[in-house]
C-alpha cells in the first residue's frame, strides 16, 4: 500500500479539521467548566492557613437557597397573598391545564412528551406559587422572581413595541430607511452606557424630565429607593436597548409577507384588522416566536443594567440571578455562587426548551 501524502490525508479529513477547533473550544471552555461548577455547587470553599479548602457538602448549598438562610435572597420573603398573586396563580394553572388537556386530547402521546410536560408544567406551577406568596406588601421577591420579572415583562414589552413599530414602518410611508437607521441605534450602545444614561435621565433634581416630574407633583420622589420603581427603571433601560432587535427582524418579516394576497383582500374590501389577523400574522408568527426565544435566552443573563443602574438595590430588589451569583463569588462564597448559577441554568434551560417545544415548533409546523 502506498503511503498517502500529507495533503491527501488533510483533504480526506477536511471535515474533522474544520470542525475540531469548535468542538475542542466548547469542550474546554464550556463543558469542562460546567462539570467543575457542578462540583463547586456541591461543596464548601473556605480560606484556611494553607491556602484554601474545599469540602464536599452534598446539596447543602441548594437547601440553603431554597429553604435555609439564603431563602430571602433567592426565593423571597413570604407574606399574605394579594389579589394580583392569586390572579397570576390562576392564570398559570389555567394555562397548564389547557396545555395538558390539549396534549391528552391530541392522540399523539409519547413517554418523552409526558416527561417533558411534567417537568415544564411542574416548574411553571412552582414558580407561580413562589410569585404568589412573595408579592404581598410586606413580602419581597427574591432574585429568581426578579429575573423572571425582567424576562417576562421586559421581553413582552420589547416584543409589543418592536412589532408595533415594525408594523407601522411596513406601511406605505416615506422615509422608512431613515426610521430603520435611527431605530437601530440603541442596540449598539453598550449596556453599561445605557445604565448610566438612564441614571442621568431619571435624576429627579437635575435630569431633563425633572421639570415635568415636579409639575406633576412628584418632586421629591426618588425612584431608586422604592423596590418596584427601581425594577421598572431596569425594565425601561432594557426595553430601550432591545426594541431595535425585535423591530429590525419583524420589519424584514413584514416586508416579505405575501403582497398579492393582501392586495386581493384589499380589493375584496377586507378591513385592515382582518388582513392583519388572517394574512399578516400567520406569515410572520414563526419569525416572531423565534425572535422572542432568542431574546428570552439573552434576557435570563441580564447583569450590567441592574449592577450599574441600581447596584442591585434598594436592598436586593433589582438583583438578577447572575448578579446574585457574582456578589456571592466576590464574598468568596464559591459554593453558593455556583449553586445560584446552576439554578439559573436549570430554570433558563427548562424555560427555553419548553418555549421552543410548545410555542416555536407548533407555529413553524402550522405554516407548512
Amino acid at each position: 500500500m502506498q503511503r498517502e501524502s500529507l495533503s491527501d490525508w488533510l483533504d480526506r479529513h477536511a471535515g474533522r479539521v474544520f470542525l475540531a477547533p469548535a468542538i475542542l473550544l466548547v469542550l474546554a471552555f464550556s463543558i469542562f467548566p460546567l462539570i467543575i461548577s457542578a462540583w463547586l455547587a456541591l461543596s464548601r470553599f473556605q480560606l484556611s492557613a494553607n491556602g484554601w479548602d474545599i469540602t464536599f457538602v452534598g446539596f447543602n448549598n441548594f437547601k440553603k437557597l431554597l429553604f435555609g438562610s439564603q431563602q430571602f435572597h433567592f426565593v423571597g420573603t413570604f407574606a399574605p397573598v394579594p389579589v394580583l398573586g392569586w390572579l397570576i396563580l390562576a392564570a398559570v394553572s389555567a394555562l397548564v391545564l389547557w396545555g395538558l388537556w390539549r396534549y391528552l386530547s391530541s392522540g399523539a402521546i409519547s413517554i418523552l412528551g409526558i416527561i417533558g410536560r411534567l417537568i415544564s408544567f411542574s416548574l411553571a406551577i412552582l414558580l407561580a406559587l413562589m410569585f404568589t406568596f412573595t408579592l404581598g406588601d410586606k413580602a419581597q421577591i427574591g432574585s429568581l422572581a426578579t429575573t423572571l420579572f425582567y424576562v417576562v415583562v421586559g421581553v413582552g414589552l420589547q416584543f409589543l413595541i418592536g412589532t408595533g413599530l415594525a408594523w407601522l414602518c411596513a406601511q406605505k410611508i416615506k422615509g422608512r430607511d431613515f426610521f430603520r437607521v435611527v431605530f437601530f441605534v440603541p442596540m449598539m450602545v453598550t449596556p453599561v452606557g445605557v445604565a448610566y444614561m438612564f441614571r442621568m435621565l431619571a435624576d429627579m433634581r437635575q435630569g431633563p424630565i425633572s421639570p415635568i416630574w415636579r409639575g406633576l407633583g412628584f418632586g421629591d420622589f426618588a425612584w431608586s429607593t422604592n423596590a418596584w420603581s427601581a425594577k421598572t427603571m431596569v425594565i425601561i433601560g432594557d426595553t430601550w436597548q432591545w426594541v431595535p432587535f425585535i423591530f429590525i427582524v419583524m420589519l424584514a418579516a413584514f416586508e416579505s409577507q405575501p403582497r398579492d394576497e393582501i392586495e386581493a383582500a384589499e380589493l375584496d374590501g377586507a378591513s385592515p384588522w382582518q388582513i392583519f389577523r388572517d394574512i399578516t400574522w400567520p406569515s410572520v408568527a414563526p419569525v416572531a416566536a423565534t425572535i422572542v426565544l432568542i431574546r428570552v435566552i439573552e434576557a435570563f443573563k441580564i447583569i450590567d443594567l441592574p449592577n450599574v443602574l441600581t447596584n442591585g438595590g434598594p436592598g436586593i430588589a433589582t438583583e438578577s440571578l447572575t448578579l446574585h451569583s457574582f456578589i456571592d463569588w466576590r464574598t468568596l462564597n464559591l459554593g453558593g455562587s455556583a449553586a445560584v448559577a446552576y439554578m439559573l441554568l436549570f430554570v433558563s434551560t427548562v424555560t427555553c426548551v419548553s418555549f421552543f417545544n410548545f410555542v416555536v415548533m407548533p407555529m413553524r409546523a402550522r405554516r407548512t
Binding site: 469548535a22 437601530f184 450602545v189 384589499e266 435566552i297 447583569i303 449592577n307
Partner: protein
C-alpha cells in the same frame, strides 16, 4: 369619515398617515434624546450640570470642552489603556470566532458526520475517570488528564467493531448552538480558576478565548443558514476539477457568503465590545476593557456626569459608526436566517 379611508388603493388617508408619523416620530425622539443628552452634558461645566436641566448649548449655557480635555489629557493613559484593550480583544476575538465558527458551520452544512454513540460515551467515561482521579485520589492534574485520555483511546479501539447507533450533523449543530442557552456565569468561576492556573487571568488572550467560546454559537447558527442557501453544485463541480475542500471553502464558498460574513462579524464584534460579565470576572487591571472602566466609575465619579458622558460617548462611538457604515449588510445578511425561521 373619509379621513380614515383613502380614496385610491396604495395611498394613505391623511389622518392615518399623521398618526403613523406621530408614533414613529415619538419613538425616534425616545431613541435620540438620551444620546443627545449625553452629547450636551459632555460639553457642560460642573455648575451647569448641577444647576438643573439646561437643554440647548449657546442658548441655555455656554459650551466648554473641559471634560473632554480632562478625559483625554489629564487622565490620558487611564482612558487609553482600557480602550486599547477593548480594541485588541474585540478585533481578535471576532477574527478568531469567525474563522473557527465559519469552518465548523461549513463542515456541518456540506460534509456528513456520523459520530458513534459509543465513542461519545467513551469520552464521557474518560472525563469522569479523570475527575475522580483528581478529586478522590488527589492525583496531579496532568497525570489525570493523561490517564483519562488513555482510557478514552482504549475504549474507542475496543468498541471500534461493535455495532453502535450514530448521531448526525443536526445533532452536532444543535449541541453547538444550544451552548448559547448556558448563562456565562455558570462557567465564569471555573474559567477563572483555570486561567489562574495557566497564567491567562487578566490577559488579553484569556479574554479572547472566553469571548470566542461564548460567541461561537451565534456564528455557527447564522453562517449555517447561509451556507445551506448556497447551491451545492457549485462546490461539487469545483471538486470534480480537482480542488481540495479547503480551496472550495476559501475560493468559492466564502466569497459567496460575504454579506452574511460581514453582518455576522459585526454582530459578534458588538457583543465582544459590549461584553461585561466575563470581563468583570477575568480582568482586573491589565486587561481591563472599556465597559469595566466605565462601570467602575460608579463609586468615584457617580455624580460627575460631564466626565461620565465623555467616557460613554467614546465607548459607544466606534460601534455606532461601524454599524451605520455597514447598515445595509445587516438588513440583507443577518436577517435572512432569522426570517426563514
Amino acid at each position: 369619515m373619509n379621513l380614515f379611508e383613502s380614496k385610491t388603493l396604495g395611498r394613505m388617508a391623511p389622518t392615518a398617515a399623521l398618526i403613523i408619523y406621530g408614533l414613529l416620530g415619538f419613538w425616534a425622539f425616545v431613541v435620540v434624546f438620551p444620546i443627545y443628552w449625553l452629547a450636551v452634558t459632555s460639553i457642560k461645566i460642573r455648575l451647569d450640570v448641577i444647576n438643573g436641566p439646561l437643554y440647548i448649548p449657546f442658548v441655555d449655557f455656554t459650551p466648554s470642552g473641559h471634560a473632554w480635555h480632562y478625559i483625554f489629557y489629564d487622565l490620558g493613559n487611564d482612558t487609553f489603556r482600557p480602550y486599547w484593550n477593548s480594541i485588541i480583544v474585540a478585533c481578535f476575538s471576532t477574527l478568531c470566532v469567525m474563522i473557527i465558527g465559519t469552518a465548523a458551520s461549513y463542515a456541518l452544512a456540506r460534509l456528513s458526520f456520523k459520530p458513534r454513540l459509543s465513542s461519545i460515551i467513551a469520552f464521557i467515561l474518560g472525563v469522569i475517570a479523570m475527575l475522580l482521579l483528581v478529586a478522590w485520589l488527589g492525583l496531579d492534574w496532568r497525570l489525570a488528564v493523561a490517564s483519562g485520555l488513555a482510557l478514552f483511546v482504549i475504549l474507542v479501539l475496543a468498541l471500534h467493531r461493535a455495532p453502535s447507533p450514530t448521531l448526525g450533523n443536526s445533532d452536532i449543530l444543535f449541541w453547538l448552538i444550544s451552548q448559547r442557552i448556558m448563562p456565562p456565569v455558570v462557567a465564569a468561576i471555573p474559567i477563572y480558576i483555570m486561567f489562574q492556573r495557566i497564567g491567562l487571568l487578566d490577559t488579553a488572550p484569556g479574554l479572547i478565548l472566553a469571548y470566542v467560546t461564548v460567541n461561537m454559537p451565534i456564528v455557527i447558527w447564522l453562517m449555517f443558514d447561509f451556507f445551506v442557501s448556497i447551491p451545492k453544485d457549485l462546490d461539487e463541480s469545483a471538486e470534480l476539477d480537482g480542488a481540495s475542500k479547503y480551496r472550495v471553502f476559501w475560493d468559492i464558498i466564502l466569497p459567496l457568503a460575504r454579506p452574511g460574513l460581514v453582518a455576522t462579524a459585526l454582530l459578534v464584534f458588538i457583543f465582544a465590545w459590549n461584553e461585561y460579565l466575563l470581563a468583570l470576572f477575568l480582568s482586573t487591571a491589565n486587561a481591563q476593557t472599556i465597559p469595566i472602566l466605565v462601570a467602575a466609575q460608579n463609586g468615584t465619579r457617580g455624580p460627575e456626569w460631564e466626565y461620565m458622558s465623555v467616557l460613554i460617548l467614546i465607548m459607544i462611538l466606534p460601534v455606532v459608526v461601524l454599524t451605520l457604515v455597514l447598515q445595509r449588510f445587516i438588513a440583507k445578511g443577518l436577517l435572512l436566517g432569522a426570517v426563514k425561521g
